[in-house]
Subunit: 456 residues, 2 copies
């Protein structure tokens, strides 16, 4: 419940069509793709940085939790108002402020969709590399909050590599400006990348200066079919040791392939036990040589077939349907996005198979193999005996395995509330204390997305 | 003067051949390429992270200033012990801990030279992109402290784009570990990039996990000669609007060309008033098409000649000699490395010419034009009347111009002590207070490189 005087003051800051307080309306902002439910007591829709500042300052004055939110496509619960309070929806801050091809820069407000940035950049021969599978629906504010990646990160990097500067409002309600408008700049601390990936716990981004990348002249697709995951994983290691970097290198295990077969019956041969979807891009004159070099690295005794893909669009569509398809086959999926060094992928997949078999948990694995970033999905029926507790034990051991292999718990989804319990496996206590102290500098009353990102 | 009990304890931490306290010995560590002189009271040479930690903790206990130092090639005074105390020379932490081509990673201690990293990576087909002109002599610790760039940053980015994780000791004497070993990772705040570019004011880096990049198959060089700076600057804008990015795009003005003519009489024709040195790299099959496309963009009414360079090495040698040559022609050079958006370069150079002419200050300009990063050198004789005070006024107006054009005061040299007085032109007071608060979190007693980076 929000204090009455707080509500009165909040109503003074925004017109009635940009503030929800009716619980029925607020419920729409209670969930994201983590499938958890935490209804806010109010939802505010600012349209200017000044409104954002006024709302944050008010929440700070009254110690009311405030959770910034883009389009709610995150999978870790990062945008859910777990402690109630106000959901700050940035979805109406939709201005593309400037498109500047001469300097390869776009400046935009946080609510602008990733897709809209691509559409603004494309006529000038540029694109913005972050490409989460939600790109058509997710906002750049959300992409920045999680340092979103996607399949092309193997060649182009993630969000933090493609942002030059930010304007933001700290938890204390102060305007700050970070970074610069140019591709070089070393004056002061790099607060830009401190905010990127901070999951709305430090400041609310109100404007982002994004760095554009030239569109490749040509693209080409390959699929490589393997008898089993082991031979497939060893091919990944060989491909990533080449000087030529593919623009995407996606792995699909047997479970993932079965899901695709259910939806697209003729797409994957029956004897394929694991598959790579590979994209190369670059100059037109070079694309066939690049493709040939990667095909060569695909070869090993487990390879069944490697071929050029005529219809790459359908293939990527199939890949994109995997997450929703998983929802259909199990009441609950525990959806992780661990990363291990590429050379450790064979060992990881082997040990993961042993783990899930030991605990009797069905699982489906696929993902951005070129970064060692695997979406591990444990499929669970919470109502079936001790299945949930077995899955949790399995998950815990899997995270230990990831850390032992020098990996990280999350490559792109973020900690949110979902992975909070495991953060201490990766980050030592001294470094965690330092991070909490930094949070206090930005947000002294802990109003911004409280409870997220840190272990409980 | 250091307290006696502090000296006694410091001697207990290090063998005598790794600690200097004699003022004559210490003087060697009193200067860097800023040509300022600040002798430390002691110089410590740790060889392990544990020794670094013990020294930092001791300084913290006694509130003794501690200034980390690589090879002293910086130009902004960042490594000088301005407030005395201990110089912490990392030059003996020289281990390349691992070279891991399968994961495109090198792990190394801070004293390892940039050049040694290149030599370790090259046999595997990789390189580490940061390439300051000091690469043969500067350490990666120093490169990380300033987020060093260099001519190839136009295509490959700067140091902050090529580091995955760090181990460090905070000013409070605590070990921390930041980032990860993989190319993706979003668990916790990005402390890696907060430390990169922080000029030794937050923590002492003891180990760096560096991301390698595949070596290009082929390189090609071009020079483009222009009648004047104006036509040359407009060509830069056209080149950078192409989807093909050159791997280097260096600008030399008339003053820089005259310096080169003095040393290499036949290198530059007499009527060339400004010049571009361009490098392209990429797949062998594509290099000539890439080169042709850039040649085309070079053409305008001011172009005298654009040609392939047979002997690129000599050309780059000439470029590298510019900084030392400048020392010979003026008793003092005020050496800046401002950045403006590429599209603003023509306006910047024009207004700079007016400014220097109005104040009667000789100047020489060259640098990384593809990033809009120009090394502006004001040549001054401090003993000649009011020349120094005119130069300072000129400098102040130049910085105002840079900020008005949406640029930044430093692209790669850092603030150090040299640019401290101007930082408030670029960073607003709220953001500066936040940065100081962050410094306090890492270094509560302000012992690490005190006085640097922030306005006085």
């Amino acid at each position: 419940m929000l204090p009455v005087d707080f509500i009165v003051q909040l109503r003074n800051l925004l017109p009635s069509d940009r503030l929800l307080t009716d619980p029925v309306d607020c419920y729409t902002y209670a969930y994201d793709n983590s499938r958890k439910i935490f209804p806010p007591a109010a939802v505010a829709f600012p349209v200017t940085a000044e409104e954002v500042q006024a709302i944050v300052a008010l929440c700070n004055d009254h110690c009311v939790p405030l959770t910034p939110r883009g389009r709610g496509t995150g999978t870790s619960g990062g945008s859910l108002p777990e402690q109630g309070g106000v959901a700050l929806s940035l979805e109406r801050m939709l201005r593309v402020i400037s498109v500047d091809p001469a300097n390869r820069v776009i400046v935009a407000e946080p609510g602008v969709l990733n897709q809209s940035i691509q559409e603004a950049a494309k006529p000038h021969g540029f694109f913005w590399p972050p490409d989460p599978s939600s790109a058509a629906y997710s906002s750049i504010g959300g992409n920045l909050a999680t340092s979103a990646g996607g399949p092309h990160a193997v060649k182009y990097g993630t969000t933090r590599d493609h942002v030059l500067g930010l304007r933001a409002v700290t938890g204390a309600g102060k305007f700050i400006k970070t970074g610069c408008y140019t591709t070089k700049g070393v004056v002061g601390y790099d607060l830009t990348r401190l905010l990127v990936g901070s999951e709305g716990t430090l400041a609310v981004i109100t404007e982002a200066t994004l760095k554009l990348t030239p569109l490749p002249q040509a693209r080409s697709g390959l699929t490589a079919h393997y008898r089993d995951a082991r031979s497939c994983a060893s091919a990944i290691v060989r491909i990533m040791a080449l000087p030529e970097t593919p623009s995407a290198l996606e792995f699909l295990d047997a479970g993932a392939l079965n899901l695709i077969r259910g939806r697209f019956p003729d797409m994957v041969p029956a004897d394929t036990g694991a598959m790579l979807m590979i994209e190369v891009d670059g100059p037109s004159r070079y694309i066939s040589a690049l493709s040939a070099s990667i095909r060569e690295a695909c070869r090993n005794t487990g390879l069944i077939l490697v071929e050029e893909v005529a219809d790459a669009a359908t293939l990527w569509l199939a890949r994109k349907t995997l997450s929703p398809l998983l929802r259909d086959i199990a009441p609950k999926k525990i959806n992780e996005d661990i990363v291990v060094p590429v050379s450790a992928l064979p060992e990881f997949l082997e040990e993961l198979a042993q783990l899930t078999s030991r605990y009797g948990i069905a699982n489906v694995n696929f993902g951005h193999a070129g970064n060692g970033n695997i979406h591990v999905n444990l499929l669970v029926n919470p109502d079936a005996g001790d299945e949930m507790s077995r899955a949790e034990k399995c998950l815990n051991e899997m995270f230990d395995l990831v850390i032992r292999l020098n990996g990280t718990l999350s490559g792109e989804h973020g900690v949110g509330s979902e992975k909070r319990a495991y953060v201490s496996k990766e980050i030592d206590s001294t470094t965690l204390v330092l991070m909490k102290d930094i949070k206090r500098v930005f947000d002294p009353r802990n109003i911004l997305n409280p409870g997220k990102l840190f272990p409980g």
